[in-house]
């Protein structure tokens, strides 16, 4: 699959532009429309139906959907409504811990992750996939199961926006993922959008657990530029968003050690993702959302081929 991002769409999909869009739904639409403008075909194929309910026949209904058994027994025309079957159940797990509140630019990591999740949900629903969403920190704070209906996006966005900001708990991946996996009735694609700051063992174990249950895993690792480059100068008082610690220091004196630690962390995460056969992508919050989305989709497409 190839995609193209037009200059106009890119202009509006830059985080600064997206940030100016207040509602998450609008933001997600803007992202996806920008992406779709460059898509040639859907990445998803095939169809299946699953009985949903009976409905009284109305003019115009396809006669092939009339349930003749009911007409034979009750002499009333009912048509069978089927829930469109999809080959993809997309579940978006968005990290809503306190560390996701850090923002060096217009969007915090959580804003970026939520927009990305909404965009992915929009994209999935628009292709007839079922999409669900959950926001977690040390546990699942809010969730909505996967549905195919396009209107389901609203529910997803409500879940994402229900987090609010500030005063949140630290990340504990394993209990959150365990609790979530028990609510997933079928195997599907689970996209985890997180900064992965927190219980590192829990990430590995959680991914292993989901993988064992047959889920396809995608790990979108959202990091702020500051966290990757550590560009601070001058005496600075660092106060932990999740941890209660603080450090008063000259940041540049600690920069080398910090970057080494970050590199070790990223390397460890990549290794854990690889061990769990998890598709891992590192996304900077300064990266345009559409580019991040296209990169993700392209990667998925190449894996599918």
């Amino acid at each position: 699959m190839s995609c193209r991002v037009t200059p106009a769409s890119k202009r509006f999909l830059h985080p600064e532009a997206i940030a100016r869009i207040a509602q998450l739904e609008l933001r997600a639409r803007a992202v996806v429309e920008g992406v779709l403008a460059g898509l040639h075909k859907s990445p998803y194929k095939g169809q299946s139906v699953e009985f949903l309910q009976h409905r009284e026949y109305a003019r115009g209904d396809d006669l092939r959907r009339v349930d003749w058994k009911v007409w034979g027994r009750q002499d009333r025309l009912y048509v069978k409504e089927f829930e469109e079957e999809t080959n993809l159940r997309l579940t978006l797990l968005v990290d809503g811990s306190a560390s996701m509140d850090y923002a060096s630019g217009p969007l915090s990591k959580y804003d970026y992750a939520a927009t990305l999740a909404a965009a992915l949900a929009w994209l999935g629903l628009s292709h007839g996939d079922a999409a669900g969403c959950a926001v977690f920190d040390d546990a699942v704070r809010s969730s909505v199961p996967a549905r195919m209906k396009r209107s389901h996006l609203t529910s997803i966005i409500e879940v994402l926006e229900a987090r609010g900001s500030g005063g949140h708990r630290p990340t504990k991946f394993l209990p959150a993922l365990r609790g979530l996996s028990e609510t997933l009735p079928r195997r599907g694609l689970i996209i985890i959008i997180s900064d992965l700051l927190g219980d590192r063992d829990g990430i590995a174990k959680g991914m292993q657990m989901l993988r064992r249950r047959g889920h396809d895993l995608v790990l979108l690792h959202v990091m702020d530029d500051d966290e990757l480059d550590f560009p601070f100068d001058g005496p600075t008082w660092f106060e932990g968003l999740e941890l209660p610690d603080h450090i008063a220091c000259n940041p540049r004196a600690l920069r080398d050690g910090y970057l080494a630690e970050v590199q070790a962390f990223l390397t460890g995460v990549r290794q854990q993702a690889a061990a769990a056969r998890c598709d891992y992508s590192l996304i900077r919050t300064s990266e345009p959302l559409d580019a991040a989305l296209v990169r993700f989709l392209s990667r998925r497409a190449s894996m599918a081929v």
């Binding site: 306190a98 560390s99 996701m100 509140d101 850090y102 990591k109 900064d195 700051l197 702020d224 966290e227 560009p231 601070f232 100068d233 001058g234 005496p235 600075t236 008082w237 660092f238 106060e239 932990g240 968003l241 999740e242 941890l243 610690d245 450090i247 008063a248 220091c249 000259n250 540049r252 004196a253 600690l254 920069r255 080398d256 050690g257 910090y258 080494a260 630690e261 970050v262 962390f265």
Partner: protein
């Protein structure tokens, strides 16, 4: 131990050392707050680098404190004197101040009195006061010696060690007052003294110390006369500089106004005799550039004023003379003074002459034609005696005594004003020795040739290849051939010489009348030695010499190559010029004997006593106040028994009085005068001093603008090493700051 030129600056600046610490503490309070997600990485980095970062920060803080401290110390002017060396007495800063008190420092040019210093010497005293005051407040161990030029020069001349007015000692508060009191008593001297002897004393004084940082201050007027060709002084200064001594010249003079000096005052005739007019001459030098007109000269004889004389004009840089007649009725010493009006320098406006007047002046005439028994009988000597003592109508004071040659060995020749030898065949060794001793002691000797003169004997005993008293080798008597081409030409030609100056000029009828028929020729191969001082007085028309003179020792020898009697010439026969020239010649020879009688201020005054005749106690009455100095005569070979006054401090007449063993009292007067050359007030200035003292590192300041540098005052300056250390500290600070990442990122890139 370290000391500081600006101690107060140090106290004000030291609190600034705390500035980096305060800034550091303030920065701790001014942290930017960042709520940070990835704390675990930051904490891990801090755990890893905590010790290193802390150490760097401490070092950086230390470097910044050191840098501020270094700047404060540098501004405070630090210097170092080793306390250990100080305890051992080695480390010190020795200041030797040489104050010029020669009489040119009495120059009042530019001085208005009152608040302004009246003389250059006053300015010099103020400079010394300022130096002493600065030394008293300077840190470190300061030592000071103060000496005047005359105090250091004249005792040295008499064999005593140099005398500093303030011997080398540590500068304590009490010393400052002592120096001020001492300076208040100092007056400019009337002596003429250059910097050589004072610098010798300074070299000895500074050479005794082992500590570094010596300074020699020369507070003088730096006259051209003293410093123009001062190679030996330059050598001394170079020695001082090589020894690490700073040479500081302080010029107290300013451009001088006109200054006149009474350069000379002396009798110009023969030996003065009582009742005889003594012609005297006074010479005044104009040391300025512009001519001076109508200079009045006051005259005094034995303290009594007499009519003065005037000089109509003295061109700039020239000397004008004026003659006057003096007459003394009694024998003995008489004092004549000549004084001009006030000008820039007062000391050289007065000159004193002591005239030793005798009842009669004995002149020994040795006639070769006389036998011993013929003493007093006129031969050739008759004509000379007639010229020297014409008679009562024209008293000259001269008393010719005619003796045969052998009298030279028996008579005390020092009793005669001059010895004249006429037509002497030869002299015996004893006679020659006596004659040479007389001449070498300042006596005047005149030889007349004649038929008896034996050239070979003269050459052998008197000429002695140039070692004897006779100035030329003789060839023999020759006739002066008649000149066939110019019969009217005179036989005698006048040369440039004061004795015959009265006959010089256009054709002189008196001299033209002189006919020379025969004369004693000089060996043709003779060439006078360079520097022999041989001069012609008269020449013959053939170019041969008729009369010559040559110094011998302190005396003078004149040879007339013809006869005194009208044997080989007709000069003495009724020609007035004969009398004139002979009297002039007698005065000329007598003046040669008097030259040694003139003394300058500062020179010792010595009286030779006769053992067995004189008592050894001599009282010197010294100018200016007539203080009596009692001196005991001592034997001082080869002069014999001598009573000597080591030095004199002022101009005027000095009297030496002593008793003889027979009870009679003797007195001898000396004229003590300033050296008139010191009155030349032309200044060297910085440029000419630079040229005269090539290769000598010296510092030059005018007295009015002198600001004694702090570096001169004490110890070794630490400024340069401190600045180097400061530079190193700043570089290390920058490296540490870079290493500790305190530099802005933009500057790194």
């Amino acid at each position: 131990m370290p000391s500081f030129d600006f101690q107060s600056l140090l106290w004000w600046g030291l609190p600034l050392v705390a500035a980096p610490i305060i800034i550091h503490l303030i920065n701790l309070l001014r942290h930017r707050r960042v709520t940070w997600a990835a704390m675990e990485f930051l904490l891990a980095s801090q755990r890893k680098y905590k010790t290193r970062v802390l150490l760097k920060q401490l070092l950086l803080l230390l470097m910044r404190v050191a840098a501020v401290l270094g700047i404060v110390l540098a501004l405070a002017g630090p210097r170092w004197s080793s306390s250990l060396a100080g305890m051992l007495g080695g480390a010190r800063t020795a200041h030797v101040v040489l104050l010029d008190d020669s009489f040119s420092m009495g120059d009042t040019s530019g001085g208005s009195g009152g608040v302004d210093p009246a003389t250059a010497f006053d300015r010099g005293r103020r400079v010394v006061e300022r130096i002493v005051g600065d030394l008293a407040t300077a840190s470190g161990r300061q030592e000071l010696a103060i000496g005047r030029f005359t105090g250091l020069a004249f005792p040295a001349a008499s064999g005593s060690p140099p005398t500093f007015d303030l011997p080398l000692q540590s500068v304590a508060p009490g010393v400052v007052q002592e120096v001020r009191d001492m300076l208040g008593t100092l007056r400019v001297s009337e002596a003429d003294c250059g910097p050589k002897e004072p610098l010798t004393a300074a070299l000895e004084t500074l050479g005794r110390g082992t500590g570094a940082g010596g300074v020699v201050w020369i507070v003088s007027d730096f006259r051209t006369r003293d410093w123009r060709a001062a190679d030996d002084v330059a050598d001394q200064l170079r020695q001082l500089a090589d020894a690490g001594v700073r040479v500081q010249l302080v010029d107290c003079a300013i451009d001088a106004a006109t200054n006149l000096s009474v350069e000379r005052l002396e009798p110009v005739g023969g030996v003065p005799a009582s009742g005889v007019i003594v012609p005297m001459e006074v010479a005044v030098r104009n040391n300025g550039d512009r001519p001076v007109r109508d200079v009045a000269i006051e005259l005094r004889e034995d303290g009594a004023a007499r009519p003065g004389v005037r000089i109509s004009e003295i061109p700039g840089g020239a000397t004008a003379k004026q003659r006057f007649d003096a007459r003394f009725e009694t024998a003995g010493g008489h004092v004549v003074e000549a004084r001009i009006g006030p000008d820039a320098v007062a000391a050289d406006n007065l000159r004193t002459a002591v005239i030793d007047v005798v009842d009669r002046v004995d002149v020994l005439l040795v006639d070769g034609g006389l036998a011993a028994a013929d003493a007093g009988v006129a031969g050739d000597a008759f004509y000379l005696a007639a010229a020297l003592a014409p008679g009562s109508g024209a008293p000259t004071g001269l008393n010719p005594r005619i003796e045969p040659p052998r009298a030279l060995a028996t008579l005390d020749l020092d009793a005669f004003a001059g010895v004249w030898l006429m037509d002497v065949e030869r002299l015996e060794p004893a006679e020659t020795a006596a004659l040479e001793a007389f001449a070498a002691g300042g006596g005047g000797v005149v030889f007349f040739m004649g038929p008896r003169t034996n050239p070979e004997a003269f050459n052998a005993s008197l000429y002695r290849d140039g070692e004897g008293i006779f100035p030329v080798p003789l060839a023999g008597a020759v006739d002066l051939l008649a000149d066939p081409t110019a019969t009217a030409a005179p036989d005698v030609m006048v040369e440039e010489h004061p004795v015959v100056a009265v006959l010089s000029g256009q054709r002189n009828p008196l001299l033209s009348a002189v006919r020379v028929e025969r004369f004693m020729a000089v060996e043709r191969t003779f060439e006078p030695r360079a520097g022999s001082g041989l001069r012609r007085l008269l020449s013959l028309r053939t170019g041969a010499a008729l009369a010559i003179e040559q110094p011998f020792g302190d005396g003078l020898v004149v040879v007339v190559f013809s006869t005194a009697a009208p044997t080989w010439n007709n000069w003495a026969r009724g020609n007035p010029s004969w009398v004139v020239v002979m009297l002039e010649l007698e005065s000329h020879l007598a003046r040669a004997r008097r030259r040694a009688e003139s003394l300058v201020v500062g020179a010792p005054v010595a009286v030779r006593l006769e053992p067995g005749s004189d008592e050894i106690e001599v009282d010197f009455t010294t100018p200016p106040q007539g203080a009596i100095v009692h001196v005991t005569g001592t034997a001082s070979p080869p002069d014999g028994l001598v009573a000597s006054l080591p030095t004199t401090v002022a101009a005027g007449s000095c009297a030496a009085r002593w008793r003889r063993l027979d009870g009679t009292e003797r007195e001898r007067l000396f004229a003590i005068n300033v050296n008139p050359g010191e009155g030349q007030l032309e200044r060297m200035g910085r440029d000419r001093l630079d040229r005269a003292l090539v290769g000598v590192p010296f510092h030059y300041d005018a007295a009015e603008s002198l600001q004694p540098e702090a570096g001169v005052m004490a110890g070794v300056s630490l400024l340069k090493p401190l600045l180097h250390a400061l530079l190193i500290v700043l570089v290390v600070e920058q490296l540490l700051a870079y290493s500790a990442s305190y530099h802005p990122r933009s500057k790194l890139l």
